[in-house]
């Protein structure tokens, strides 16, 4: 299984990353940025599908809330009615999850590629040779220069700058799609999630090598761009939950732009 993973996913990505570094003047930082852009472009159809499903589900929120009020005490009936509603609107509630799940292996491979390519110790450099193609462009780039801007891509960024960029960009991205809720419980949960994930990833940035954090930061910025393209600033610039619910009602969507 591990060999199949290496053969099909990890090795092509790893060699691609190193070849990119060679093409981009030996800058591994630029190679990470370029590969992140390429991977996000390849996954764009899935990302769009995910965003559209999310958007449709958010548009249905007023109707779902109505159903919850109506059948709140009868869970079985509530489920039946909700499924009926999903069917009517033509939305699969899992539609926004599975594209995300499909992307996970790619993120894992990207993480492994970055870590392997940096090969900061003799044993990791030795291990890297088991995964390299006999391309001259790859041989030319080895060993990679781990310095990029102020970062040592093989070590965590101790300046907090990258942690703020990763956490901040993640907050913006989440804020754009998190629909304000009239339900106090939901509202409190949304607020917590909105802060927790950026905080966690900000913390990870202080622990994991900055090469990976650079990938997160670029990925978030691209995510914000894609999201803006689909929904505009979304909930980042919208008003109260009541206004949002009103606007989303009926047509079932978020309009682009403020």
């Amino acid at each position: 299984m591990a060999e199949l993973w290496n053969l099909i996913i990890l090795n092509p990505m790893l060699n691609g990353l190193i070849a990119l570094s060679s093409v981009l003047g030996g800058s591994f930082g630029l190679a990470i940025i370029a590969l992140t852009v390429i991977v996000r472009l390849i996954l764009l159809p899935l990302t769009l599908k995910q965003l559209k499903s999310t958007k449709a589900l958010q548009g249905m929120q007023p109707k779902i809330q109505e159903l919850q009020k109506k059948y709140g005490k009868n869970q079985q009936k509530l489920q039946q009615e909700m499924m009926k509603l999903y069917k009517e609107v033509g939305v699969n509630p899992l539609g926004c999850i599975w594209p995300m799940l499909v992307q996970f292996p790619v993120w894992i491979a990207l993480y492994q590629s970055i870590m392997r390519a940096l090969a900061t110790t003799p044993e990791s450099l030795l291990n890297l040779f088991q995964h390299l193609y006999s391309w001259e462009v790859v041989a030319q780039a080895i060993p990679l220069d781990s310095h990029f801007l102020w970062l040592n891509l093989g070590s965590p960024d101790s300046t907090l700058i990258l942690a703020i960029i990763v956490g901040g960009s993640m907050w913006v991205q989440q804020k754009m799609v998190t629909a304000p809720s009239a339900d106090p419980r939901q509202k409190s949960m949304n607020s917590m999630m909105l802060l927790m994930m950026p905080f966690m990833f900000g913390l990870f940035t202080l622990i994991f090598p900055s090469g990976l954090s650079l990938f997160w930061a670029v990925s978030n910025v691209i995510g914000i761009g894609i999201q803006y393209w689909i929904t505009g600033w979304g909930y980042l610039r919208r008003g109260t939950s009541a206004q949002v619910v009103t606007k989303l009602g009926g047509k079932g969507g978020i309009t682009k732009g403020p």
């Binding site: 003799p122 030795l126 040779f129 006999s134 001259e136 041989a139 060993p143 202080l206």
Partner: protein, 347 residues
Amino acid sequence: MAVNPSARSQNLSFPADGEWEYLITAPSGGGLSCSQTSASVAIYGTPAVDEALVFIGDYNGKVYALNASARSQNLDFPQMRDNEWFYPKTSEVIGAIVGSPVISEDAIYVTSSNGKVYCLDKHFGDKKWESDVLAKKLWSTPYIEGDKVYISTFDGHLYALSAEDGSITWSFATESKIGFVSSPAVYEGTIFAGSFDGNLYAVEIGESEPLWNFTGGNCFWAAPVVSNSTVYAGCLNGNIYAIDATNGTELWSFDVGSPIVVSPLLVDDSLVVAAESGNVYVINPKTGIGERIRNLGNDNKPTINALVQASPCAQEGIVYIRGQDNCLYALDIEQGRVIWKFPLTTQ
């Protein structure tokens, strides 16, 4: 650790006569940790021994001279009267040291991940000179011959430095800018080193074009060994190649079944080759015909029940190899078997 082969063969309790251990530590902590503690440091290079003194470069970036007598008595380090020292003499460090230190006359030569070569006084640890930055990092072991220090670099250069002052007297760069992965070996005015593209280069010192290059199936990770006009080079494709040093012609090859990451060892009339898998072979260097050394307990298992990533050494016909299981193995190459093993556990 210093291990007495005689005591180990008798299975005496450690430390027996002349045996000792000393733990090299460095401050650790930082990151999210508030407190600073000390932790043991990795040592990649092979220690260099000169009578009672043992020279070590660690991954933290310090060079140590340990005296066997002082360490046996477990005295505080450093014992100046026993010529013990560490460099730099302050709490500062040079870059991580991966290559082995090399002794030549009164000097110790080490390479550092800061890209420089350092020449230190053997007796007191004073710096005689440090070279210019030769590469972004230097992991190779220098080769000393006459009054020259030879270095191979990851960015595709071979250098000859003056052993007197560290100045560059000659350099060679690969046309493709592909780096050298192995440490260099020098034989009769020619320098040999393996590169990242799977070639073993032979370059006559003073020339700007390679004499020849030999393509293996993968990288030549470890430094080759040259004797009687023959280059013996282990490749990551699992083959040990014997190559004519004058023209790069393959004389023979021997497949050991797994990558070779340590240099072969010439012991009397035999070539000892350790495969990463743990199998160790004794090969006739003229014919390329060899045999595997048997496992201590089970003939069907590899010679050593662990990966081999450290260079072997030999004394009086016995080859000593450290396995990745942190055990030291003694192999009798005449009998073709492992004679004892000893766990290198620290206090």
